[in-house]
């Protein structure tokens, strides 16, 4: 009895294959996320990645009416964007996945013009895209670092696996009519604002669920005047050696402020309560690839390296000369960070 649905699914796959077998021009739908009245820089990187498919790129902006209107104007000017879809509703002001997925589904079901669904690998998109992909019975590809689309309609991606210790090259064949993928922002430059802004804007009605299974209660964002960790060009990171929250601040912040750098932390430092969770760099935290990454008192576990080893220049200060961080550091100094960092601040001034 349970076999019947599977057979039905296979048939529908074949039906899709027939409908899309002639390779059409790619058309990506890119989720443009925003916060505080600005488009997320990760979404701008996703836009660049979508442009590399070689076809049309439609940006999708969802939010409260007041949020959406100015963002559409920003989005129209972005390099590579060919049209914008906006959808607004008070329900989208602080959306939960269950409220966004019906809207996305309505845009994607029944022979949509789109061939790819794209977003940055952010926490919100990571929650949303797989849910929608499953409802359309297609796979999703997470956290891609490069892509190539060919004339036959297949797209080949590379993505890190095993905490970045191996790179998988995977091909989504033409038979997958809608290819979902999330983009590692640090692997693609952010789309610049260069267009004349003369692109088509379409408004689609919000799709409101009578009662979503999950409701949003509150959001707590860590306030900081420093650059955002995921996109900062310089990062100063601390580990377990920082002893406690006060020492972490006292030691790292002057150096970070001097360099105009974001502050990061190892899991050990976060678990011990020295720094907020949102500052964690690694496989399970943020992946960063700044121009300069300074690792202070971080041993360099596999999981931490996964989040920073694509940084341009890695500097490590550690008491332990055998710490694995020195195997990836371009410049290493074996020493007590409590002596080194103040001197560093003094001499950099």
């Amino acid at each position: 009895m349970l076999r019947t649905p599977t057979t039905a699914l296979r048939t529908s796959h074949r039906a899709l294959f027939r409908a899309y077998a002639t390779a059409s021009q790619p058309h990506a739908l890119v989720l443009l996320e925003h916060r505080g009245g600005a488009l997320e820089s990760g979404s701008l990187s996703a836009l660049t990645a979508a442009g590399q498919l070689g076809g049309k790129v439609t940006g999708l902006i969802i939010g409260d009416k007041d949020q959406v209107t100015p963002l559409v104007e920003q989005a129209k000017k972005l390099q590579g964007i060919t049209s914008v879809i906006q959808s607004s509703s008070p329900h989208y002001a602080t959306p939960v996945t269950e409220k966004l997925s019906p809207l996305l589904l309505s845009l994607l079901k029944d022979s949509p013009p789109f061939t790819h669904v794209v977003s940055a690998h952010t926490s919100s998109a990571r929650s949303l895209l797989p849910r929608v992909a499953a409802l359309l019975d297609v796979p999703a590809v997470s956290d891609i670092t490069s892509l190539e689309h060919d004339a036959s309609g297949s797209t080949t991606f590379t993505r890190p696996i095993y905490a970045g210790n191996a790179i998988a090259t995977v091909k989504a064949p033409a038979s997958i009519a809608l290819k979902f993928f999330t983009v590692r922002p640090t692997a693609f430059p952010a789309a610049a604002s260069t267009n004349s802004g003369d692109v088509e804007v379409k408004e689609v009605a919000a799709v409101e669920e009578a009662e979503a299974a999950t409701e949003h209660i509150s959001t707590n964002l860590t306030k900081s005047d420093r650059p955002e960790l995921g996109t900062a060009s310089r990062v100063v990171s601390g580990g377990r050696a920082l002893k406690d929250a006060a020492t972490f601040e006292k030691t790292l912040y002057p150096l970070a402020d001097l360099l105009g750098a974001a502050v990061g932390a190892s899991r050990a430092a976060v678990d011990a309560g020295y720094a907020d969770n949102s500052l964690q760099v690694g496989q399970t935290g943020k992946v960063v690839a700044p121009e300069l990454y300074i690792a202070l008192g971080i041993s360099g576990a596999i999981q931490h390296l996964a989040g920073m080893k694509d940084s341009k220049l890695i500097v490590a200060v550690n008491k332990d000369a055998d710490a694995p961080i020195f195997q990836v550091a371009d410049v290493g100094l074996v020493g007590d960070l409590f002596e080194v960092v103040p001197q560093l601040v003094e001499k950099l001034k």
Partner: protein
């Protein structure tokens, strides 16, 4: 006195056997995969999921009836099922595929889990109220299965949970989730799917008596075809390669040299 719950809850915890997190993996010379002849253990996020299910029962004794774990994997996946039973889960299901089969994708796993959940409701009269999964497996790093399962079931989802509070009536859960830049609080109606962040809890070690006891707990063995599932991947893995190696860096002796290197690379005070 504990309040009487409307109905006793059944929790399902899907778990995966992965290469141990501390192993430095090696890509095979054929570039088809990684050397798997190394230590394996339960995916760390799944251990947290098992721990959370057990803690929920400890906290809400009257509300939770059963904790079942399920692993979809080759024969040796039975080891992680035993580990979960030793931690305190009641029973297990092993959906077994041959060692030679390629690793299934999250979509196929989500469909398998959905089929199991439907089977639990129809054939065992034990409808699942809560599925707790790890937020990602540390081998494929996909982070999709929970969301896909919630979508297929039409259930609510709370991803990257760092705190889970079931309400006394067992009808809803308040979940704190990690998001970029901070955290948020969600209230979800049961049945729902929760995926675990590292911060949710500290998994316990199984004691020797519990390991012995786990050997007697029931584990049902199924094949994908029993559930009407085809695990064949839809995406084609072309190759697995080593990441680009970083050039060996230099150690400096003094802070002066370090500052000189920074300035040479163009970094000075902003």
């Amino acid at each position: 006195m504990h309040p009487t719950s409307a109905r006793l809850l059944n929790i399902l915890v899907p778990i995966k056997r992965t290469i141990d997190y501390a192993v430095k993996i090696r890509v095979n010379p054929q570039n088809t995969g990684v050397d798997t002849n190394v230590k394996h253990s339960m995916n760390p996020f799944d251990e947290i999921a098992v721990e959370e299910a057990i803690r929920q029962r400890e906290r809400n004794k009257d509300a939770i009836k059963s904790i079942k774990v399920v692993s979809i994997g080759p024969p040796k996946a039975s080891e992680v099922i035993r580990s979960a039973l030793a931690m305190g889960a009641d029973s297990g299901i092993h959906v077994e595929y041959p060692d030679s089969a390629p690793s299934p994708e999250p979509l196929a796993i989500a469909k398998t889990l959905k089929a199991i959940i439907e089977r639990e409701a129809k054939e065992k009269n034990a409808p699942i109220d809560l599925v707790i999964l790890g937020k990602q497996a540390i081998d494929d790093d996909a982070g999709q299965t929970g969301q896909m399962l919630a979508g297929l079931l039409g259930w609510g989802q709370a991803t990257y949970a760092s705190k889970v509070e079931l309400d006394a009536s067992g009808k809803s859960a308040n979940v704190t989730t990690e998001i970029d830049g901070g955290s948020q609080q969600l209230k979800g109606q049961l049945p729902m799917v929760i995926t675990t962040d590292l911060r949710l809890n500290e998994p316990r070690y199984a004691s020797l008596p519990n390991i012995m006891k786990a050997k007697k707990k029931p584990v049902e063995k199924l094949s994908p075809s029993d559930l009407g599932i085809d695990l064949t991947p839809l995406l084609e893995t072309i190759r697995i390669s080593e990441p680009a190696k970083r050039q060996a860096g230099a150690k400096v002796e003094t802070v002066e040299e370090l500052v000189a290197k920074l300035k040479e690379a163009g970094f000075k005070a902003a």
